[in-house]
């Protein structure tokens, strides 16, 4: 058993790290605006393609590709907020309308990507080559980087939202918009900030995914669903709840794959999530309100 368990836990850790990266941005927009950004997956895809163009086509190297991918996603995120979310702030049905407008953005981005980059599969080079061993389990260095990077990014976000002026303003706006405005916080600008930051996280996830999976226009579709499940399962709340849910789901998924195989794992996982939500309707780490 020992020989199988540790590699399984490591692959669970990798899954959890990816889920945490995917979901943290989605959770940030949800907790600031009360909006689910359905274009979050498409932003991941965009980040991966831009990184590929800069790295492979322009030959400028992985590092610059990384930065360009994250930056492009961030800009696209701010544009989505300005053009497709901001006009509906005053609307009573803002949440439902933005489901539609961000879904539209997702389609437009995906189709645009197909037109610009074509249907051929692409792949980014790994940020680092080689292998390392985690507790005796061999892992590619790139995957080890993801396992280390995800908690670092989450810790950075936690520090940012908890300790800095602009990070705290995101939380303030999420909790009480009028009160935030009355202490001088520019609420619409904070919404843009949330979208931009969230999209940057999506771009980062896309770039990291782009070297362990093939880049296709639909690269972000599955991660979007996964991220939404993680955010809802975590209790639609804080960053900590989202991160916790990501790792719980990642580890359980890896163990289920070990015990049941790939075929049944998604169904059993969903049944498990539904059962948890029956007994804890506010999510795994949600507060009863």
């Amino acid at each position: 058993m020992d020989g199988v368990l540790i590699p399984t836990l490591v692959s669970g850790l990798l899954l959890g790290s990816l889920y945490a990266l995917m979901a943290s941005g989605l959770s940030l927009v949800w907790s600031t605006l009360g909006v689910f950004n359905f274009a979050h997956g498409a932003l991941m895809t965009l980040g991966a393609y831009v990184a590929w163009t800069v790295t492979e086509q322009l030959g400028l190297g992985v590092a610059l590709g990384f930065v360009a991918g994250v930056g492009a996603a961030a800009i696209a995120g701010v544009l989505i907020e300005l053009l497709l979310v901001r006009p509906f702030y005053e609307s009573r049905n803002m949440m439902l309308i933005t489901v539609m407008t961000t879904l539209a953005a997702s389609t437009i981005i995906e189709r645009g990507i197909s037109m610009i980059w074509g249907p051929r599969l692409k792949q980014l080079p790994r940020v680092i080559d080689g292998q390392v061993s985690i507790f005796g389990a061999p892992v590619s260095s790139h995957e080890a980087l993801i396992i280390v990077l995800a908690p670092a990014v989450l810790a950075g976000l936690w520090w940012y939202t908890g300790r800095t002026r602009s990070g705290r303003s995101l939380r303030a706006v999420g909790q009480n918009q009028d009160a935030a405005a009355l202490i001088g916080i520019d609420v619409p600008r904070t919404f843009s900030l949330a979208f931009g930051l969230s999209a940057a996280l999506a771009g980062l996830t896309g770039v990291l995914l782009g070297s362990i999976r093939f880049i296709t226009p639909g690269l972000g579709a599955d991660p979007l669903v996964n991220a939404m499940i993680v955010v809802i399962f975590g209790g639609l709340g804080s960053l900590g709840a989202t991160a916790g849910a990501a790792y719980v789901i990642g580890l359980i998924e890896a163990l289920l794959i070990l015990w049941l195989g790939l075929y049944w794992t998604p169904s059993v996982l969903f049944v498990g999530l539904i059962l948890v939500l029956i007994f804890r309707p506010n999510g795994l780490f949600g507060k009863a309100s």
Partner: protein, 240 residues
């Protein structure tokens, strides 16, 4: 004395429902004024317009010589016009100290925030005791103290307090009123909304009675009404 705030002919309300029908109030620098009148007659609506949370359909609001009628709330706070809302929870999941620190948000409020935090603690020692507590676990009185404390952290050049003692016990009411009097004594220009006219008369220079979206009466110390006249204003003279 120069005019600090000039509200001229404000009309407006929520959607198609008009609440205010041409309100004129003004405040000179160094002055404190009070607003009173029955609930639901437009006091809070007026204050939301002054702070930029709601747009009037017509009229003009001038603060310190600048037209702020259509300014953003953040611009208005940066200019120094600060409002403490009625007893709300501010940011439920934020700590007391964190909330106060964040409130020194606008660029002019950032300098000297530590001194102001000490002043807020001196004024409301309860907030210093509860600095690590989350805002939603505070009592009604403590929430009100935090709300006023946050407004003070914004470095106000004009402070608006909307019913700061609403729903509090008589003992807490007294405590908060002493604190408000202490703020006024420091020379911060104030607009206070209260139901207790006697308290307002002791604290402020002039009062406006807001009724059915209009200024029904302006009162200063020279034409101060007696208790019976105040009751008449609230309940209508036909009741007698």
């Amino acid at each position: 004395m120069s005019t600090l705030l000039d509200v001229k002919g404000i009309h407006g309300g929520y959607g198609a429902v008009p609440v205010l029908h041409g309100i004129d109030i003004h405040l000179d620098s160094g002055e404190a004024i009070g607003l009173f009148g029955p609930n639901g007659h437009g006091k809070t609506t007026l204050l939301r317009m002054v702070s930029g949370l709601l747009r009037p359909t017509s009229g003009q609001i001038v603060f310190d010589g600048k037209d702020i009628t259509r300014a953003k709330p953040s611009t208005i706070v940066t200019a120094g016009l600060v409002q403490a809302q009625q007893g709300n929870t501010l940011f439920g999941d934020m700590g007391v100290e964190e909330t106060l620190q964040l409130s020194a948000f606008s660029p002019p409020a950032r300098d000297g925030w530590k001194t102001r935090l000490e002043e807020v603690h001196a004024l409301f020692p309860r907030l210093a005791e509860r600095r690590r507590q989350l805002a939603r676990t505070l009592s009604g009185g403590e929430r009100q103290m935090l709300s006023i404390g946050c407004a003070l952290m914004c470095a106000p050049r004009l402070l608006i307090l909307d019913e700061p003692t609403l729903g509090l016990s008589p003992r807490l009411k007294g405590e908060l009123r002493e604190a408000i009097a202490a703020i006024a004594a420091k020379g911060v220009p104030l607009i206070v909304v209260e139901q207790d006219v006697e308290f307002l008369l002791a604290l402020t220079d002039r009062l406006y009675l807001i009724e059915q979206g209009e200024v029904a009466r302006e009162i200063d110390r020279d034409n101060a009404p007696d208790h019976k006249a105040i009751m008449d204003m609230y309940f209508g003279e036909q009741a007698h």
